[in-house]
């Protein structure tokens, strides 16, 4: 595993282009585009203000930079550096901006969710969509980019509009049986729309592309409901994480619950492997896992923070739990994060009142597979897009990788601490961008020719 040098960054805005060739990062009001292989700067764009949101178009030809404070969006072309586009939302304000899947339209949401403006880069036409709903996830495109589902609110009722992205024509418009729609997401096959209600009510609704209600599911009443939702890449399962600390897997045939994954703090099943991150203490002798022994004084690169390693904990074990403050809104409890591996074989979850642990579930056996207990709360995790490999960051200057073969903790090299707050995978799964507050670096997992080339070039530069 190799690491690139550290580059500046602001606002955690660092993204690989969808085709995997480029890497765009923001430093204040500048956007830097690098070649992923050589890390040489290819383009440098200067925006009018500090960038708050950045997004690649689907064809990797354009970069959208939104400056919400100014109500501005600037678009840059990678092929024609002199080409520019500036969209000003004026007094209407701007709270969100995103690309349409064709990479030729930009959807801007005005302040107070008055409307969504669809700007075209091809024609002068501008479309407006009124009454968008302000919610967690109110806009969702199908994976093939054909359709847009939009949550709307009219007369205190929730509606969903399905648009055809090619000409922004309304295809379907139907009301949903929700109190206060909180989010929705298309199944990866683009035929089923999952819609969930606000956390006050556990309600999951499934709509067909033509607006028919396929099924409704509710696990319980009264207490706080759905917190997070994820489709399996095969569209076979919908994992629903809720405030009761459970993940429910709904199947695509009956839309009923297939199984329920509880997240108890005590793990007693001997089939589950619990990896516990421990600080590496100076010479332990020659235990089977502590080789080569770490010597604090002799290793100048890791003098700042103690190294850590994973140990397999003997199984009846209880994890550190957080007692959620029930008198506060948005209590830290329930399943806040969940993600399927790209092959749909594994599901990684985080229970917010056991913040240090990542649970990995085996979807084939429908059972708990592995629990990783970190030293500090898990900030984010993401699956390798190519294989079942999970990268985790906790805000420490380490990156953690898990695969069914085992797991490891890797210290990010460099002088001083480099707290990794977020990470994102390259689409090939060969490299990983580690994002800190002010810096980022790339982590190369495969020593391919390209990396060696990059290293060679950088050596010649310096």
């Amino acid at each position: 595993m190799n690491f690139s040098e550290v580059f500046k960054l602001s606002g955690l805005l660092c993204k690989f282009s969808p085709d995997g060739k480029y890497l765009a990062s923001c430093v204040q009001y500048r956007v830097v585009v690098r070649d992923v292989r050589t890390l040489q700067i290819l383009q440098l764009y200067t925006c009018l203000d500090q960038v708050q949101h950045m997004e690649w178009s689907a064809d990797s030809l354009f970069i959208l930079c939104a400056m919400y404070k100014r109500g501005l969006v600037q678009v840059w072309s990678l092929e024609q550096p002199e080409w520019h586009c500036k969209i000003d939302e004026g007094s209407a304000g701007l709270v969100a901006s995103c690309w349409s899947p064709d990479g030729r339209h930009i959807l801007n949401t005005t302040e107070f969710h008055l409307r969504i403006t669809v700007w075209s880069l091809c024609t002068k036409s501008v479309s407006y969509i009124k009454y968008p709903k302000a919610c967690q996830q109110g806009i969702t495109f199908t994976r093939d980019g054909r359709y847009l589902a939009l949550a709307e609110r009219r007369d205190c009722k929730d509606y969903v509009s399905i648009f055809v992205c090619s000409d922004w024509q309304l295809l379907r418009h139907f009301d949903t049986d929700t109190q206060d729609l909180a989010g929705m997401e298309w199944a990866p096959n683009g035929c089923v729309l999952a819609v969930w209600d606000t956390c006050l009510e556990y309600k999951m609704l499934f709509y067909s592309l033509d607006g028919r209600l396929l099924a409704a599911y509710s696990a319980y009443e009264w207490s706080l409901g759905i917190k997070s939702v994820a489709w399996s890449p095969s569209s076979q399962f919908l994992a629903v994480g809720s405030y009761d600390g459970k993940v429910r897997l709904l199947n695509h045939v009956t839309w009923k619950m297939t199984t329920e994954f509880g997240h108890p703090a005590a793990i007693s099943n001997p089939k589950t492997v619990v990896y516990k991150e421990v600080e590496k203490s100076p010479p332990l002798g020659l235990g089977p896992l502590s080789f080569p022994p770490f010597r604090a004084g002799t290793c100048p690169l890791t003098a700042t923070s103690p190294e850590s390693k994973y140990e397999v904990a003997s199984v009846p074990i209880s994890l550190q739990t957080l007692k959620p403050a029930t008198d506060r809104a948005n209590p830290r409890m329930g399943i806040g994060m969940l993600a399927f591996s790209p092959d749909s074989y594994f599901l990684a979850t985080r229970n917010d009142n056991v913040p240090n642990a990542v649970w990995v579930w085996d979807i084939q056996k429908l059972s708990l597979f592995v629990v990783l207990e970190q030293l500090s709360p898990v900030r984010s995790f993401q699956w390798d897009p190519q294989q079942p490999r999970l990268a985790i960051c906790t805000g420490a200057s380490k990156v953690y990788l898990w695969s069914p073969a085992g797991c490891m903790s890797v210290q990010v090299p460099g002088e001083g601490d480099f707290p990794v707050l977020s990470l994102c995978w390259h689409s090939s799964g060969d490299s990983l961008a580690l994002l800190g507050k002010d810096h980022f670096c790339l982590c190369f997992l495969e020593t391919s020719e390209g990396v060696r080339e990059a290293l060679g070039q950088r050596a010649s530069q310096t």
């Binding site: 190799n2 080409w83 008055l114 880069l121 002068k124 000409d167 140990e311 397999v312 210290q411 460099g414």
Partner: protein
């Protein structure tokens, strides 16, 4: 007199009671009493009277009279001494008997007394027990009552709680409706505001709201945008339905596939069932006409039918009933069969273990012993390895960071050496094997040569003889010669072929050595360049050459992905620990960002 009267009065009783009376009255001082009694009873004056009295008494008791038979009525009665003595003797005998009886009775009495005591104590004990149990019952009853009371209270509490929950739920519901109502009100207000804001912001021709673009770019698909018309709407509809249809078709296909798979499995199971059950069929048929046999034949017929018509491709409905019935039948047979087997097994268990079982157990034990031995050996090996490593580390510890790198190289070197060592060992073994085969071959060759020599000698002799033989035998000699030459040729052939046959094993023995020699050079070439991946890769090549099982190489491969950094791997238990190597860090460049940014 008193005592006499007593006696007399008691004579009317049965003799046994008399004895007992006597026993009770005078047990020990009997003889004395009797003496004094007699002294008091008979005096000089009243001899006659006492005799007559005694006579009277004795006759009443059934003894013969003391007097002689009077010869005449007037004659005076004469005392018959013999009778007196007889009577006395009889009385004494009686007395002795009585004493014996008395003793018996006494012991019996004692026994009974002790029995009585025992029974009494038992009785007391039981009474006590009764008392305690009664008390216990009372206590339990009390507790029961209390518990019932508590239960009632709890029930009441539960009911209250339930009511409370209901109430709270109602409250929540009412609050929720109120909240929703308020929310709606507020939302309406908010919508109004929004509407107003919308009018204010949007309708006023805001010059600012605009897009400033250098030139419009082409569409991603290269086509031109089309007007929205009814036609496009219809087309969109069509497309949507097409997508849905495709999805459904895809799903149906998947389901069909799954169905086919399941059918295949079912068919296979059926076949296996039939094949499993058919050999058994003969037995029940031999035994009268049992139902199972006919059922099996039915099932077979069914199967034949099914197979013939290839009903598997038909839709389920037509076959379902038939299929389920046949399967059910077979299942029943199988179940009964298994049950029978179970019974047999249990019988066998009752009879005791078979010899085979015992043998297998012995085998098992031997195996475990062997394995344990192996484990022990492995442990020792690990220990020695650890010791070696420790030594190496101890020597390396003194130096600074360079030693760190060096010891990782040393480690690698060591590993490589170990591999080489194993290779060398293998080679040695091969060599040894080869040598053995060679010696064997040599011995055989010697033997053959000897045989050949002998043959040749004999042949030469024969030839010599032939050459000097009679002329008229020449024609035959030619034949002989040819025969001999043919045989000799054959011999030669065999001579040639034999070593050729022998060679292949030696060649095959040699070949792995050749390859191993070839591969040996691979790990032996230490690539000490700064690029850290090289040693790892070469190491892995060597590992793969050594034919380590894939399970073992796997973690290594995982390890390879992250060889440069200081990392730790906690692999899954059971799998080999990740490969540990600490290589030079690639992170050699300066950490100062070389960005062109200000």
């Amino acid at each position: 007199n008193k005592s006499i009267s007593q006696y007399t009065s008691e004579t009317k009783m049965s003799p046994s009671s008399l004895y007992s009376q006597q026993v009770l009255c005078s047990s020990i001082p009997l003889s004395k009493n009797v003496h004094s009694f007699f002294s008091a009873f008979c005096t000089e004056e009243n001899i006659e009277q006492s005799i007559s009295y005694l006579d009277q008494e004795l006759t009443t008791f059934g003894f013969p009279s003391l007097y002689e038979e009077p010869k005449s009525k007037e004659a005076k009665k004469e005392l018959n001494i013999v009778a007196v003595l007889n009577c006395m003797n009889e009385l004494l005998v009686l007395q002795r008997k009585n004493l014996l009886a008395q003793e018996n009775v006494e012991t019996q009495n004692l026994k009974l007394g002790s029995d009585m005591d025992h029974l009494q104590s038992c009785y007391a004990k039981l009474k006590e027990q009764l008392e305690t149990s009664r008390r216990e019952i009372i206590g339990l009853q009390e507790r029961d009552r209390q518990l019932q009371c508590k239960n009632r209270n709890l029930h009441q509490l539960l009911k209250n709680e339930k009511d409370e929950v209901q109430k709270l739920q109602n409250i929540i519901a009412s609050r929720a409706t109120q909240y929703n109502h308020d929310m709606k009100r507020k939302e309406r207000e908010y919508n109004k505001l929004k509407e107003r804001l919308h009018q204010l912001v949007m309708n006023k021709k805001d010059k600012k709201i605009a897009m400033d673009v250098l030139n419009y770019v082409g569409r991603a698909d290269g086509k031109r945008g089309s007007w929205r018309t009814g036609k496009t709407e219809a087309r969109n509809e069509d497309e949507m339905y097409k997508i849905l249809l495709n999805d459904y078709e895809y799903r149906q296909k998947q389901i069909l596939l799954e169905n086919a798979e399941l059918k295949k499995v079912l068919q296979q199971m059926k076949k296996e069932m039939i094949s499993l059950l058919s050999p058994q069929k003969k037995k029940p048929r031999e035994r009268a006409d049992e139902s199972t046999g006919t059922v099996i034949s039915d099932a077979e017929e069914d199967a034949g039918e099914l197979g013939r018509e290839s009903v598997w491709d038909l839709s389920c409905e037509t076959v379902r009933e038939q299929l389920t019935n046949s399967i059910r039948k077979q299942w029943r047979i199988l179940k009964s069969h298994v049950e029978k087997l179970d019974n047999q097994v249990s019988k066998v268990h009752l009879e005791g273990f078979n010899d085979e079982d015992v043998i297998s157990r012995q085998d098992h034990e031997q195996e475990t012993e062997k394995l344990e031995l192996e484990i022990q050996q492995c442990k020792e090996m690990i220990k020695t390895q650890q010791q070696l490593l420790q030594q190496q580390l101890a020597t390396a510890c003194d130096d600074d960071t360079t030693s760190l790198f060096r010891d990782c190289y040393l480690l690698e070197e060591k590993e490589r050496l170990k591999e080489e060592w194993s290779l060398f060992k293998e080679q040695k073994k091969n060599f040894e094997r080869e040598r053995r085969s060679f010696t064997e071959a040599a011995i055989r060759l010697g033997l053959e040569r000897k045989a050949f020599e002998e043959e040749r000698a004999s042949w030469l002799k024969q030839q010599f003889l032939n050459m000097t033989a009679f002329d008229h035998q020449n024609s035959e000699n030619v034949k002989l010669f040819s025969a001999f030459s043919g045989s000799s040729d054959q011999d030669n052939l065999t001579m040639h072929s034999r070593p050729r046959q022998k060679k292949p094993p030696s060649v095959s023995n040699g070949s792995p050595i050749c390859t191993s020699k070839g591969t040996k050079s691979l790990p032996a070439s230490p690539t000490l360049d700064s690029c850290q991946t090289r040693p790892c890769v070469s190491e892995h090549n060597s590992v793969s050459v050594l034919n380590i099982t894939p399970e073992e190489t796997k973690p290594n491969q995982v390890g390879r992905e992250c060889s440069s950094q200081t990392w730790s791997v906690a692999s899954r238990p059971g799998s080999q620990e990740g490969c540990y190597s600490r290589c030079s860090l690639t992170y050699t460049n300066s950490h100062v960002e070389k960005d062109d940014l200000p």
